[in-house]
């Protein structure tokens, strides 16, 4: 290998070390006793006790389950509804299509913070604040990013497959459910895992809508753990660190299984 080849590899290796080390630090520090949180590199003495303590210190298991339920509901709702709408845009030629599609692109530009207050008032008026419903139910109406992604994908499907099914007497719902959905699987998976991630990250909505700690999702729960244990007279850093690992780990696992889709999704949509 020439220097021309080795130099980029060395720089990339150094960059990787910078990106990876915080993870290593987090895991190791969570396995050290509290007075060694900041000192020492390796988890010596090895103390996995924090991972037992954290479940007692906070209802982590409940939060984990809440995150799974809310995340799956949010991802499923947005994937199915966005696919439904995307099929409408991709398959049909109809008056008003341009305007309607412009409205999809337009809302991609609308910052979420702008609609925060009125959206709260809507959920409040139907008595659903204080429940987990506002965390996912807004997704039942599709989301611009995914509608765009799925429409692009469906436009690439061969038209004759649909025409043939029509000749065989399939209904439009049949075209959607039996042809468009199965053939769009890769794009549907991208939509699902990106929304799952977005839901798993979300702090704002749980902060706004949930008071009861039993209903918290992991990020909201982790924030509560930080508020309780990071500072004050008797900080319990090891609890905070272990809770952070518990919050992060499930998503890293999802990432390793769905890596291909994540990378493809970012490269094609720019969604982060």
């Amino acid at each position: 290998m020439t220097a021309r080849r080795i130099f980029p590899l060395m720089l990339l290796g150094a960059a990787s070390a910078i990106f990876l080390y915080p993870f290593v630090w987090l895991v190791f520090a969570s396995l050290r006793p509290r007075d060694l949180t900041f000192s020492g590199q390796l988890p010596i003495p090895f103390r996995p006790q924090s991972y037992a303590d954290v479940w007692d210190a906070a209802p982590m298991l409940t939060w984990l389950l809440n995150s799974v339920v809310v995340g799956v509901a949010a991802a499923l709702a947005v994937t199915v509804s966005s696919a439904f709408v995307a099929f409408g845009f991709a398959y049909f030629r109809f008056p008003g299509r341009g305007v309607m599609f412009a409205s999809v692109l337009g809302t991609m530009m609308l910052p979420a913070a702008v609609t925060l207050v009125p959206t709260y008032l809507i959920w409040n008026s139907v008595g659903l604040t204080g429940t987990q419903v506002p965390l996912w139910a807004g997704n039942l109406f599709g989301s611009a990013f995914y509608i765009f992604l799925l429409r692009q994908f469906m436009l690439g499907l061969p038209r004759y497959v649909f025409e043939a099914a029509r000749v065989d007497g399939a209904s439009y719902l049949g075209l959607f459910w039996k042809i468009a959905v199965p053939l769009s699987r890769p794009a549907l998976i991208i939509a699902f895992i990106f929304e799952l991630k977005a839901s798993w990250f979300d702090l704002m909505k749980p902060l706004i809508y949930l008071q009861d700690a039993e209903l918290f999702t992991l990020p909201r729960g982790l924030k509560a753990v930080v508020d309780q244990f990071y500072q004050g007279g008797d900080p319990k850093w090891e609890i905070v660190l272990a809770a952070s690992v518990v919050t992060t780990l499930p998503l890293i696992v999802v990432f390793f299984f769905g890596q291909r889709y994540f990378l493809q999704g970012i490269a094609t949509t720019g969604r982060r």
Binding site: P8, L9, L12, A15, S16, F19, W25, F38, F84, V85, G88, Y91, F92, R93, F94, R97, M100, V104, T107, L110, P111, A112, A113, V114, T115, V117, P118, T119, Y120, L121, I122, N124, F141, G142, Y172, W200, L203, M204, L207, I208, L218, P219, L222, V226, D227, Q228, Y230, Q231, G232, L241, S244, T248, L251, I252, F255, L263, I266, A267, G270, R272
Partner: protein
């Protein structure tokens, strides 16, 4: 047949249309109307004209939040884009397998929930014994109190934000992959140096992707919330005593709307944010039209 098709088309669009009215257009209008009222969720909204906007212009915390947010955006976006471009260029130098592994590694921080990122950097940026100052110490530099010195909190937040370059790097790397090799090779034969090849071939060819990354990153930076809120705001003891050094715009909007229940004032704040983002994006697009090379 045709009208039947149109009816079906709109049937498929129905969820979107309902959502548009209920959760996008409706709230936009409601937010505009509310911004002219005084509303605390308990009584009825009371019309106050432009009072909220007048109060907003005179509110020193609004000024501070805007200052912090813009300063962060102006520092974060160029740094993040240049670093992501650098990583993407490096990735483009190595062959298949290795590039894939590095790309995965670079994306891992983006899979860390933002609240966990905030927690992690509270430790890493700790002034007494945090990792960053330990590393600086190796070079004989005494690092500042990143999480408690008001002058150093914003730089600390920028450092945290630069841990997360994965998505931008992947978009730029994908764009680099699409630059036809013949072009750079032809230029090489014509005697163009590596900087000339980058400046006159690669950069124009990926300018659309770079432009996209800048816009998306700017809009996200202006709405920074999760990490900062996790680190410096909240209930009980975690509330810092460092003034408003880490007060970001959306944090203030959240406080006004959902902690003080000043729904009218928060709506005015939301509209100002919307206007600022719209203006900045518009300027970026205008500038982009001159700089970006579309095929």
């Amino acid at each position: 047949m045709r009208t039947g098709e149109t009816r079906w088309a709109y049937t498929f669009l129905l969820p979107w249309i309902i959502g548009l009215v209920l959760f996008q257009a409706g709230p936009m209008i409601a937010s505009a109307v509310l911004s002219f009222t005084d509303y605390d969720l308990i009584g009825a909204p009371e019309f106050v004209g432009l009072d909220n906007y007048a109060a907003l212009a005179a509110d020193p915390r609004v000024a501070r939040a805007i200052e912090n947010t813009l300063l962060y955006t102006v520092i974060h976006v160029p740094l993040a884009c240049v670093l992501a471009l650098g990583l993407a260029l490096l990735l483009n130098q190595v062959t298949g397998r290795a590039a894939g592994v590095f790309r995965t590694v670079f994306y891992l921080p983006s899979m860390t929930p933002t609240v966990a990122v905030g927690v992690l950097f509270l430790f890493l940026l700790n002034g007494q014994a945090g990792l960053l100052n330990e590393v600086l110490g190796v070079f004989g530099i005494e690092g500042p109190q990143w999480t408690s010195d008001p002058d150093w909190m914003l730089p600390g937040i920028v450092i945290m934000s630069l841990w997360n370059l994965g998505a931008s790097t992947i978009v730029l790397f994908a764009a680099l992959r699409n630059v036809p090799r013949e072009l750079t090779e032809a230029a090489m034969i014509d005697g163009a140096g590596s900087w000339q090849r980058f400046r006159h071939i690669t950069l124009p060819m990926i300018s659309a992707a770079l432009f996209f990354v800048v816009i998306v990153d700017t809009i996200a930076a202006l709405q920074m919330f999760d990490q900062v809120y996790t680190m410096y705001f909240g209930t009980s003891q975690a509330q810092q005593t460092t003034g408003d050094a880490a007060l970001f715009y959306v944090v203030y909007l959240f406080q006004q709307g959902f902690q003080y229940l000043h729904m009218g004032y928060a709506s005015a704040l939301a509209w100002l944010l919307f206007a600022v983002i719209a203006v900045i994006t518009f300027i970026q697009i205008k500038v982009g039209d001159r700089l970006v090379h579309y095929e």
